[in-house]
Symmetry: C2
DNA sequence: TTCAACATGTAATTCAAACTTACATAATGG
DNA sequence: CCATTATGTAAGTTTGAATTACATGTTGAA
């Protein structure tokens, strides 16, 4: 086990190593971004600490004593190993792709159409989209950031609101045949679509006091297909405003109920440091949201 | 060539390495003689600098991420190499014998009789005596300390006076046969002894204004034999008071002239740091002198 | 479940190592 | 011999790192 307590000051060792590599006190200072005097003092402190002359100061230019040469070799090895380790880390980190977790709905409706812009701005950053209805924790080495729908209170995780978005209940105009439902209870008569692995429709109905009612039929479909199904008149869907904004605008879907809640999409990250690609992404997406 | 400028703070790296070895923040603090809070802050600073999470903080005890493990390996290697180099240095240094240069006369008359005391006090320190009339520079790796006769003004070297000691001119009572010389000029009639490699007798005579006189005979002998020769009545010798103090006391030699000059024996060292054995010796010899 | 013990995090202040500036000393080379 | 180059020293300042004190959160036993 390393005995730290009797190791000389690391800055002194660093100064010595820089001096050895650069060959002069002034150059060593330049390499470390400090003055020559700083190096001079560190070198003297090192000699004092070790109780050994490391230099022959008889000439103008310092020369290493045999002891100094031994130490130099050890330090160049040691610091070299350390620097290599640090650099390797930065490299692998910089190149590990950015891993984004979000719901299939949000991905196809909002994120994917804009992502090209981000990739154009940051050609060095590879990305992996992990669309998944289940809300995976952003873990180190796994998901870097998750985009989640909720109220922003994920315990143990940091979140910032991306955009508020009410829950809407939508259906195709063809489904209603002009007879648009007036109350939530009217919806019982229709077939429902639900995203695989979620229970949004039931919880919405429960929120309306209809938790015991059975709807006409309930079809579970993969997330990306739910909106498609709704558009085709296959049933009622519960989703967020953002995901169907364009469809409503274009008249392909009708929002029959809309519930103003203080919920919305959030950027959720692990507390702690963000690696540079992640920082870039967060900056970009927040700017992107502000545009609209 | 190492690029120092983008290396993280070395104390942060050290803290990280200590944490890895000890397994907890608090223990790492203990190993480095700092508080747990200091370590905590260093670790966070390191993560921030690298832009990479090094720990999984979801549990109470920190766990290394894969990146953290890579870095840990590099740091343990690197710091290990450094520590080994430093330790090797201290070891070889501590064991290199102490090299003392002094005149043969002083060695046999004053130093050798007392040296046993030093060695008894410092059993770990080996010594090499280098008696030599020529005044060798104490150089790194060579002589650690020289004991020289003079006035203390050796340019480029540090010196402290060990003891003042006038120059004396001595001869055996048998040589003078009761007819002790009264003036320096009287000494011309006697045979002279001179230490090999020195010119003390001629310069003493020159100091008395007798630079052009020829003495009866001049015999050059190795330093350690000069006093012996004088004792045996083989001639006049010029030396220092200290070297013949006991002989004069015991009546084996007579001091015919004594010149009070501000000269004496000095401890002469290279400026700069003194390694521990040298410091011990200097402390010892100065205390030894003060005893008398 | 609740509480004590443990492990780490954070904020504010204090402290000291390390740096800068300015001047000094000394060697080298034209 | 002087200009130039290289290092040393001293004094004062800066800032990185430490301490202290309190907070947060987990674990395990009562």
């Amino acid at each position: 086990m390393l005995n730290w307590s009797q190791l000389p000051s690391l800055s002194a060792l660093r100064a010595f190593c820089a001096f050895v590599q650069r060959g002069s006190v002034a150059d060593a200072g330049a390499a470390l971004n400090v003055s020559h005097a700083a190096i001079s003092q560190q070198l003297r402190a090192l000699e004092t600490h070790l109780g050994t002359p490391l230099f022959d100061r008889s000439n103008r230019a310092l020369e290493l004593t045999p002891e100094g040469q031994d130490l130099a070799r050890a330090l160049e090895d040691g610091f070299g190993r350390i620097a290599a380790g640090v650099e390797a880390l930065s490299h692998t980190e910089a190149h590990r792709p950015l891993n984004i977790g979000c719901t299939p709905t949000f991905a196809s409706a909002w994120l994917m159409p804009r992502l090209a812009g981000f990739q154009a701005d940051h050609p060095g950053i590879d990305m992996v989209m992990s669309p998944s209805p289940s809300l995976v924790d952003p873990a180190p080495g796994g998901i870097d950031v998750a985009i989640r729908y909720g109220t922003g209170d994920w315990k143990g995780l940091d979140s910032v609101e991306l955009m508020a978005s009410p829950v809407v209940v939508v259906g195709a105009p063809a489904l209603f045949k002009g007879d648009t439902p007036k109350t939530p209870a009217d919806l019982i008569r229709y077939p429902w679509l639900e995203e695989l692995g979620t229970h949004e429709s039931s919880s919405w109905l429960a929120g309306q006091g209809l938790q015991n009612e059975r709807v006409l039929s309930r079809t579970e479909v993969p997330g990306n297909l739910m909106i498609d199904g709704a558009r085709n008149g296959q049933g009622i869907a519960v989703t967020t405003r953002i995901a169907v904004a364009e469809d409503i605008e274009a008249g392909r879907l009708v929002a029959v109920f809309e519930e103003r809640r203080d919920a919305g999409y959030h950027l959720v990250t692990k507390p702690g440091v963000h690696r540079p690609p992640l920082k870039a992404f967060l900056r970009w997406i927040l700017r992107e949201v502000r545009k609209t």
